[in-house]
Symmetry: C2
Subunit: 305 residues, 2 copies
């Protein structure tokens, strides 16, 4: 089970009823935060998620609305007694930006482990029980989308365990860990399990123009969270110029990817009523839904498509 | 008339229903912001004050809860089309802190004019139609309190104007400007006006231990806004250690100063119900009131005490 929560759905400026775009993924009691604009720590509290279980923070890019809440979050984590290290990942330049912002949070009772990602050669990594695949977006500065995957091991197959001469005491052990040794012999998980099954995958992509990489990463995903800075088709030129998407462009990406769900987010502060434009997106991708602060979903495993 | 609004009344960490301590003074359509913790820009919007009329921002000190909202505020001012210069004043070190935080707001469509104040020799200055007198507080780092005064010129006295041979056409001119020249002769305001009358003064002091300077600056003031991080007298030792005040200590300062109003602010996030402890403060200073987010007052001129 993966729980995904939108903490804020605004772009550029926070509004009293719309926080800056950020989101939380939670798996087995661990949490992963994506983006941290001003006010994110309050949204985390507001929606009852807490700071302690956050193992990592992924930053998409360094525009203020995506990172301005970072020093405050770190301070509050410290004031809450955190001692466990925190992973902070983002595009190259992260160390400089985070160190500057930490002028007001220089000393923390926990370590912040920086992980800079090269948008031209983004390597996957793991955090908070999730496999994370960053990928490059197209914005006014280096910007990353993230695919989060909760992998699902294959089914336990007793006949396979027998065929591979795996001793009976290791049958349950190998369902929980990748390998085990008994009497000097190493046994691996694939000796008792069938092929890996469909996991759960969520793609978060903001800020960006529509680029083929998004649909490629989002193929058959469970949830696709996409920016939709503008709804009015007359804003197309502005969207192109500023590196953002219209709602209907985001919908086209979701349709191309055959995503199971599409949530729109990162609305312009000049768009107080995103619902005005939703029908245009739903005409392209009927399942398109408007994200809202605090909106969440529990995604369970499903059969392969 | 001076309007004073508490934007947030929390210390350390913002809570969903309690923003970080900051405040706005407004006189004749111009505004002066004091402190700018994370979320200040949202509070400004929430209470309908706007960004455009803000001529200056006074920072008390560089703990995160007093300055973490600065880059976001500057970005939003820029995105709102501001072009007028903004004064940013605070203790020595301001330039370094602000420049670091502006890693995410490096280019703005308006100038930020830094004004560093030496807490050991703080010079008064004027901004947003107010006379501002900074004074040193006692906290874990250099920290400034601010007295804001809206001065009130003396009454117009025709007999004095006649006695000083001020030509009739200058009588009204000298009620609006400090001096005027006619036929090569310079006439000054004091030639037509009586002694300056009592103005309006507001003192804002956080974070600090009680120090004599506060009551000295706050003598007979209209409004004294003081931090009250803790209410429970058992927290006295903690208050001393962390450079904060108990509510009853703040009340004693107000009583000493004969302040006309006392508003308490900057509550610990571990104090969800400040009203529990208010009676202890009111026992010392009966007019003590609990500040709350959005609380405001219009202060008019009154006669001398």
């Amino acid at each position: 089970m993966l729980k995904f929560t939108l903490l804020g759905t605004g772009g550029m400026m926070p509004l009293p009823e719309r926080g800056l775009a950020s989101a939380m993924a939670a798996v087995n009691g661990r949490q992963l935060l994506i983006d941290c604009g001003e006010g994110t720590q309050v949204q985390i509290r507001r929606f009852g998620l807490g700071f302690k279980a956050i193992d990592g923070v992924l930053i998409t890019h360094f525009h203020g609305d995506h990172v301005s809440g970072l020093p405050g979050l770190l301070l509050s984590m410290g004031n809450s007694g955190r001692e466990a290290p925190l992973t902070l990942a983002g595009p190259v330049g992260l160390t400089h930006v985070a160190d500057c912002l930490r002028v007001i949070a220089p000393e923390l009772p926990f370590e912040v482990v920086y992980s800079e990602i090269d948008p031209d050669a983004p390597a996957p990594f793991a955090c908070a029980g999730l496999d994370i695949a960053p990928f490059p977006l197209k914005h006014g500065m280096p910007c990353l989308g993230y695919r989060l995957t909760l992998p699902r091991p294959g089914r336990f197959l007793p006949e396979q365990a027998r065929k591979n001469n795996v001793p009976l005491p290791l049958w349950s052990v190998l369902q929980k860990q990748p390998e085990a040794v008994l009497d000097g012999v190493t046994y691996t998980r694939d000796m008792v399990l069938g092929p890996a099954r469909r996991g759960i995958s969520v793609i978060y992509a903001t800020d960006t123009r529509p680029v083929p990489a998004i649909a490629e990463m989002a193929r058959d995903c469970d949830l696709l969270v996409l920016e939709a800075m503008y709804g009015d088709p007359e804003k197309r030129e502005r969207a192109v110029k500023t590196g953002h998407m219209l709602m209907e462009e985001a919908a086209a990406v979701a349709a191309d990817a055959h995503a199971r769900r599409l949530w729109l987010t990162h609305y312009s502060p000049a768009m107080p009523d995103p619902e005005t434009w939703l029908p245009l997106a739903q005409a392209v991708y009927p399942e398109a839904a408007l994200g809202a602060d605090g909106m969440d979903v529990d995604i369970g495993y499903t059969a392969n498509a």
